[in-house]
């Protein structure tokens, strides 16, 4: 078996780990990137979300082998971007953060959504966030935050 190489947070990495490890475990335990969280372990809650080539994916479902030669971005790296700044400000302004366990995944979902649709309708926002369960907020303040990010960050997406 050849080593698996992929771009992680803009750096080419090569890892000699079992290819059927979950990407989530590799990120958290091998790279100590603990921003992605394990909430359910079966792709239901989205707390483990990362970007794969700019799209949201659940890292608890991805075997390491499937990211071979692809680009993985975690919250740790995305949080250094200008887009993140806009999302962070909007989330704080609208009160989209409570316990925070779903939040990094939610930010990834927002980025992925705005990437596809820079000016989403309320319905599109709700669909875009529908794979990220939040038990604290009831979602409305997050939906408003996405609206706000889209308008404040015009031209960024």
């Amino acid at each position: 078996m050849k080593a698996i190489e992929f771009t992680l947070n803009d750096e080419l990495v090569t890892v000699d780990l079992q290819p059927h490890m979950r990407l989530l475990d590799v990120l958290r335990e091998h790279f100590l990137l603990t921003g992605p969280k394990e909430g359910c372990g079966e792709g239901e809650c989205g707390a483990c979300a990362v970007l794969l080539d700019g799209h949201i994916v659940n890292s608890c479902l991805l075997p390491l082998a499937n990211v071979h030669k692809r680009h993985v971005t975690t919250i740790e790296h995305f949080s250094r971007s200008k887009r993140y700044q806009v999302i962070e400000e909007a989330m704080i302004y609208e009160g989209g953060v409570q316990c925070g366990i779903c939040t990094p995944g939610m930010v990834i979902a927002i980025e992925s959504l705005l990437n596809k649709d820079p000016n989403p309708s309320d319905a599109a926002i709700r669909i875009g966030l529908s794979g990220n369960l939040c038990r604290c907020t009831g979602y409305n303040m997050i939906v408003k935050a996405v609206k706000r990010a889209a308008s404040k960050g015009e031209g960024l997406w």
């Binding site: 962070e88 316990c99 366990i101 779903c102 966030l129 794979g131 939040c134 038990r135 009831g138």
Partner: protein
Amino acid sequence: MKNISDSIPKVDAHEKLSGSAKYVSDYMLEDMHYAKTVRSPHAKAKIKAIHIPTLKPGVHVFGAKDIPAKNHVNMIFDDWPVFAEETVNHVGEPVLLVVAPDRKLLKETVDAIQVEYDPLTPEFSLKAFAVHKAFKKGDAEKAFSEADEIIEETYETGYQEQAYIEPQGFIGTYEDGKTTLIGSIQCPYYVKNALLVTLGCAENEVQVIQAEVGGAFGGKEEFPSLMACQLAIAVRTLKKPIKMIYEREEDMAVTTKRHPSKTRMRAAIKDGRVQAIEAHVSLDAGAYTGLSGVVLSRAMLAVSSAYTIPNLDVSGHAYITNTVPNGAFRGFGAPQMIFAIEMFMHHIGKALGDDPYHFRRKHLVKQGDLTATAGIYRDPILMDKMIDKATAMADYHKKVHAYNAPDVYRGIGMSWFLHGCGFTGSGEAEHIKSKVRLRKDEANRVHILVAAVDMGQGAKTTLRKVVAHVLKLPLDQVIFDNPDTDRVPDSGPTVASRTAMIVGGLLARAAEKLKTSWEDGVAYTVEEQYKQPDYIKWDEDTMQGDAYPAYSWGVNIVEVAVDPVTYQVDVIGIWSVYDVGKALDERIIMGQADGGQAQGVAYGYLEVMAHKQGVLQHKNMTDYIIPTSVDMAPTENVVIDNPYAFGPYGAKGAGELSLVGGAPAVAQAIEQAIGKKICKIPATPEHIEELMRRESH
């Protein structure tokens, strides 16, 4: 910051958004070992023998025989074992704890251990009760004998799982004779006290630190004490860091849930009014009593909710069954009872041919009325104004009329409710004796020393605000680190909507004290302890008097459309008005409102959990359905000011209030949409189908 209610950015928002906030599973320590529990597959059985294979180096097994002192989790009822000893009483009951240096070895060992059982006959029906409580108000017997009409109904509610997104977990470390447990917890001192009882060790031999908590909702009130006791035994023996993080399936299978309930209600009607209610509530406590007695009592205290009923005869039982123990969940007994009473009042109104809205409104509580336990509603009650506001926001009266037409499959429901703030009766003064400290350092920074946990509700932000506001200091001069029992006094558990009101109130007083004695550049500490207002009188045994120091109030309106083809419920809108005294931060309160409503409404129509022979059928987040962003409707929430004299800046409890009225509001809406009486929640599409089928024949 002119007005305390003006919102400020949450102090922990950046670290949570950027993924740098540290939850217990994010701790990775040198030489870290892992722990996993061996559990009973039986609902009831005698443990015949335990066969432990030859253990590989570094692998250890712990059980009841390794407990240094008491084999029970320190709680109100001490019947819950840390490890099963002779018998197991529910599926998933812990028998052993395995510790290994890596998870592969851990899993292999767990799989290789064989426990021999003699299965016994389990009990799943409500037959044997562990707790019975009762109280009366007025003369219900007389009212029933003089009644024009007696109306009777039974209401049922199901399990509800907290479904915090972060499963439970601890990491334990050992250094210089001290065992430190870092965990996802609501109540650092509950954990510490449980450790002291189970380990039988000295106060300074254990330390409990709160990691960031990824949601709790009551689920991390008492259960963590069980995990902590098990883990601490291993940590003290092995003197190594050990991590125990539940995966979702384990968490769902063995942690506490909201008690399923059955409430029988009878009303004596005379002259178009309810003269008396006789209510009996039965809770399924599961295998051990735990906190069930308190949950039962809080359910019973909510019996007349926002109505004044002159005569009451209230009783309740918490039953022991061979199922996973049930426990604390936001609302703590109130959601079950408020569902029952709100539906009952609505149903009585209908049965009497009165407009349920008018019928209910004429029973509404007023200031000065007697509470269910013959205490007094001393403070102003703004429900009239709140109801008018909510109905206007939702366009309730127009809609409720329009949706009475057949075949529109739309409905709108409304609930009115209160929530008692803080511990019941004299609990704060007699059991908790809450203590807070403020430490001022040489740099004139003020450190908040309390055991209150920010589990998302924003305590870190609001408590800092209160202290900063009193001292007129910039927020960054006030410091609040996660509680650590070596550093903070016992300000009580983070439960019962008490943190803002009680702990916040004590902090405000401490801050006043500091302000008066302020000495620039000098380090010193001030302390405050809870004192019960003199007028509060409560008799625990007879359940008479003032059950709570204060009440928060709420109105929820929920509108639904029910699909006549699939019976799926679409929540279209939620409108709410709350009286929480004074919002310590408007945006945080709005967050509590939205989030609590989501849980309360979903409890009423969406969230299903059931067991078969003691095995929960909803095992993970795929099976146990909580709302997504698409399921939740836009909301419009308003908070009105009604300052409470003993709360900081007038604040009362807010955390649980927003949950307790959701279920009856959505159930009434569904009832209107389908034209069938709802007496049971969750009102799922399957239940609706059954109602439609049953009555169409």
